[in-house]
Symmetry: D2
Subunit: 275 residues, 4 copies
């Protein structure tokens, strides 16, 4: 299938994985490998780059294998997020990593639910775009905010399926459908990536079956009982969901021989259309 | 991972696929290959074995590659189903196919919804078991009927996720959980296979994530816009779901930092237990 | 609105309530009154008719106010259920209560889940109908079994929304829709009563909005923190749901100005049809 | 039960109904009466106050019976909404209606989905609060925006269950639970009113059962086949849902005798707590 294109980057795998919350650096490294991802996201706030033994997470991520996507996790206002984005750019430029030109923008509204702040996110996105960044914006599933972010120049809008680390999967299919309809109207290649909320493999497939272009996840792998096996599950789930979307699923009916499907809207594209 | 064992048969893939409803025999053959299945089920009523041009479906299924699972599709009472099962055994014995000793029992309640008839199914199961068959029983998601079938000697109970061809996926997770709890209590290796209702890839993953041992499907591939691509999606979805089940998913919470999960029962086994 | 007619009985309220599981007889009596029901069901096995202090439950139910519906709760095979039905008839004849001619048939499959046994239920229904009873049959949400019960002469089929006492509401809307379609086809007045599984008021409304003719419940009131207040909630929920069904709800859409509804099947009757 | 208190207003009914989209003024008047509401909301943009025959909607609403809640429907930015709010105040002052001191603030993000604009809503709320208004803020189900609105001084936050006129009910229970937890933490009487998305009676009960203090709806009544009957359904559904919330529902379990409930979080208050 076609690769995922975001800004200047072309990704063979449509799964982007995080690097936080692992028990050990070795476990992280092996999980990244098992996930099949070729892009990994790293929090660039200094306190997150080093583990308890003072080792730098970047020493455990093969820069030849993975494109790094710096993120602004842990920032609660536009100012902090912009500072973190610039720090990430500086670090990656020093490393010669091609991820220096993009950033995953994450501006949180509070420390309890880790839900995004729409106002600060839009403000930070505008400023980072002006500063030349290719911005991938983490946001809620609010279609109005999603559209504002695209209009602000975001290279990708990344709606949450559910709160970070909640494992609830996609809670509001209706809003995600509206976002896909909004952002891809007259611009079908605009990348929409579901970020946050994945709990298990079928959640990843659900996202692709709706028409999402990519999925970003972290806790569902890092906190599984067996992270490496779960990483492999997620790899297969991404392929399964994307292929199922492209293959054009059968309609849902009350029973197989019923004359009409139970839902008029199965996906954002008409049944049988070419993706 | 461990293979799926049903009766004397050991299957490398946990996906069993049907052979009906394809546009052409070639499309069927290529879809079977793409699905990764090593077991395919074939209706043995004479009118279903031949296509419009008089070609026998069995000539398009490589007997060295696939174990055949004869099924009694199209039967509406125990007598007809038993007759069809015996015919299947006879045909497969003639072909020297190892599938001669087992049968997928399907006794339908009516021709409109294609839902199974619990009373006729239990009666037919008893008689086929007595006759030496290894019986895989298609049934509804009713836990009481499922238990009766196991007690009648079924080699596997195969509850429907939703009506045949409906594409609704798993409609009653609660009943499926009770079935898994009932049938695997003190007998964790007893094979439970979800049969019927799959619409798309994530439905297959859902079944395995619940703890099912296998999934049987047909229409979701055969009537997809691109059956071969959908077959590949199903292959990956089976691996994804099974691995995710074994890997032990994270609990669902209201938000990531919440102190207690929103559901006490995530799977039929305690979180973190070995499968 | 029109009353609910089952056999010879005409009920002003479409809510039928049970009499078990209350802390005290007084609490039961007051909850029945608050529910607005004019029909209450009573288990007729001897051990259930008396409380710890040896008082007979029937002394706390005003026979002038309520029609009694004897039930066979606690029976696990057809023989026991038939015996209990006859005992109930005898008791109510002695009391001169008009409920002597009908029975709520309940034949359970096991003591853990309290799910109904389809085979024993059909057998008992046939025999009780032959014996002149007006039989209201508790059953699962299996459409094939529901149709068999109607064909066996049941005065009403009473599918479970979910297991007795589970409080899960209506778990399989699809099956309930098929049951309504099956049983009311060419016979729109045939009474279908949802029995078991109600957890709270909205579950009762859900049942009526689907097109059910009545709802029977017990635990959701008896085990609520405040049973009398919950009984009142259920009274209003039954009215709300029935009126909403008759009033013809708006279709579901992705958003209000969308051109097509998201579901083709909102109820078992076309939108806007007269009930 | 206790009345709903918002700002200086005390409402006997917890249902607030709109006045738009009716076929005729008479139908509107009769539906308002049947709903049992004592507060009705009216759009104050001039083009919405008059019907095709030039009659003023306010002439059909008995000012002695109903408290009017002016709303800013049809406004797409803060400036327009503020202007509409002031116009409403002026009109109601002239009429001597007590609704002059409050406003339902609605600032929409686009004309297709009628979803609210979080940034413009927060800005308008701040300015209206500064100007002395008691502001009831229509918003999405985003908890971060909801909290910002409360912090901006909103007298009530009114999250949408689903898009205006969509009839989808409550799409994201998880977010609504977080909003209730956020806004009522240390302030249990703070009024949260579900506004928009109701399709039928059970949706209203769902909202109250979650712990909402009120529900505002319009299309579900005005566009029902029989608006007056649906208005009555909504009246009962509000009572049913509120009473069920106060009565403390039973927990959900896999089956009735299961040892643990399937969900740890049934409501925003511990099971059995006093509301």
């Amino acid at each position: 299938g076609r690769p995922l294109v975001v800004g200047k980057h072309t990704l063979a795998s449509r799964l982007i994985v995080g690097t936080g919350r692992y028990d050990t650096m070795d476990q992280m490294r092996d999980s990244l490998a098992a996930s099949g991802a070729d892009c990994v996201t790293v929090a660039v706030r200094r306190e997150r780059l080093y583990d308890r033994e003072g080792r730098n997470i970047l020493d455990f991520i093969d820069g030849d294998r993975y494109t790094l996507l710096p993120n602004t996790a842990g920032c609660f206002n536009a100012t902090d997020a912009i500072r973190a984005a610039k720090l990430g750019r500086e670090i990656l430029r020093t490393l010669g990593n091609p991820g220096a030109d993009w950033v995953k923008l994450e501006v949180l509204g509070d420390s309890k639910t880790l839900l995004p702040d729409p106002i600060e996110t839009v403000a930070a996105c505008r400023e980072l775009v002006d500063d030349g960044f290719s911005v991938l914006c983490y946001t809620s599933d609010c279609p109005v905010t999603a559209l504002k972010l695209k209009q602000a120049g975001a290279a990708s809008v990344m709606p949450a399926g559910s709160p970070i680390g909640s494992g609830q999967g996609l809670l509001n299919i209706n809003n995600l459908r509206i976002i896909l309809e909004y952002l891809k109207d007259d611009d079908p290649d605009y990348p929409v990536i579901i970020d946050a909320g994945v709990g298990t493999a079928s959640d990843v497939s659900d996202a692709f079956e709706l028409g999402a272009d990519g999925v970003l996840l972290n806790t569902a792998i890092a906190h599984a009982r067996d992270p490496i096996l779960m990483a492999s599950a997620m790899k297969h789930a991404a392929i399964a969901g994307r292929q199922a979307f492209l293959a054009g699923r059968i309609p849902r009916k009350l029973y197989g021989t019923a004359s009409s499907p139970t839902e008029g809207v199965i996906s954002t594209r008409p049944y049988g259309s070419q993706a």
